[in-house]
């Protein structure tokens, strides 16, 4: 039973001034990655990571269908994202627009591609913004969240010492 799970690591690159590419390998066949990526009950369990609790995930999985995720961030405030699917190829490819509702002018196009080799899946998520400023704001937001997490851990650690 003691299977060693070869955990992947996310790699982020900036292929162009307006793009972000996130690559990650998963120890599962791609139809399961696709399922976890598109099923509301499952999305709620992973999306947002340590940044908060995903309280709602709506998915209308068809071209022209809409999606919307809501998260209550650790600070207590609510953040929401929504968009529309532009391409749906089950288990392989999923493209959609994405709008952060706190910055509604900055819509991005997300393209998820899944390729499977020997039961493992390589996920590529390409985020295309309309201008560099929005791309940079996107990364800055993620970076601040990452720093906030570190601060939270630091605070927990400090509290446990008190």
């Amino acid at each position: 039973m003691g299977t060693v799970v070869d955990k992947g690591t996310a790699v982020v690159t900036l292929p162009a001034d307006t793009e972000i590419l996130i690559t990650r390998e998963f120890d599962a066949p791609r139809h399961l990655v696709y399922r976890a990526w598109t099923t509301p009950e499952l999305i709620k369990r992973w999306w947002g990571g340590d940044r908060g609790e995903c309280t709602s995930a709506e998915v209308d999985l068809r071209v022209g269908g809409r999606w919307r995720y809501v998260m209550v961030a650790n600070g207590g405030f609510e953040v929401a994202f929504h968009g529309e699917y532009t391409e749906v190829v089950p288990d392989e490819r999923l493209a959609s627009t994405e709008v952060y509702e706190g910055m509604p002018d900055a819509a991005a196009l997300n393209t998820l591609t899944l390729t499977e080799t020997g039961g493992r899946t390589t996920m590529k998520l390409l985020v295309e913004h309309s201008c560099q400023e929005h791309r940079d704001a996107h990364i800055a937001a993620g970076m601040e969240a990452g720093m906030q997490e570190s601060m939270d851990y630091l605070e927990d650690a400090a509290r446990s010492l008190a």
Binding site: A10, V12, D17, A36, D50
Partner: protein
């Protein structure tokens, strides 16, 4: 700690393709301006503007040798970009760790389902045989 959208940071400085080409050339070693102009086919005034931006954010340093101005690369400000992307990576990684756990569960469930299906198939195969036995049998065997 959002980045200011001015040319005064390394990120914007390297966003311009011509400036990246200059950095690529300087990565191989110090060069005089004339060299850069000739190699990149950029007009002198344009080249001066690019070099000024790169100097402003500290990506290149300059010194005069004779009548020539020589430029060399300073990679340190690029670390800022590296750190920026690394934080972003970390924030995604927290989600992906959770996704790993969800996937492990889905895999287990699928495996279990396959086993049950296998077992059910096994029973299905036996059922008609048992029925046939009952029909053909003498009726009182318990088997």
């Amino acid at each position: 700690m959002a980045r200011a959208a001015t040319t005064a940071d390394a990120f914007n400085a390297v966003a311009e393709p011509a400036r990246r080409q200059i950095l690529d050339l300087l990565a191989a070693g110090e060069r005089p301006v004339n060299d850069l102009v000739a190699l990149l086919g950029v007009a002198q005034p344009q080249m001066s503007k690019h070099l000024a931006v790169l100097r402003q954010v500290g990506l290149v340093e300059v010194r005069g040798i004779g009548r020539q101005r020589w430029y060399r690369l300073n990679g340190y400000p690029l670390k800022q970009i590296h750190d920026w992307v690394t934080q972003f990576e970390r924030s995604w990684e927290a989600s992906f760790d959770r996704l790993d756990a969800v996937l492990a569960e889905l895999k287990q469930a699928e495996l279990k389902q396959a086993e049950l299906k296998q077992a059910a198939l096994g029973e299905d195969e036996q059922v008609p045989i048992e029925r046939a036995d009952e029909e053909n049998g003498d009726g009182n065997s318990g088997r």
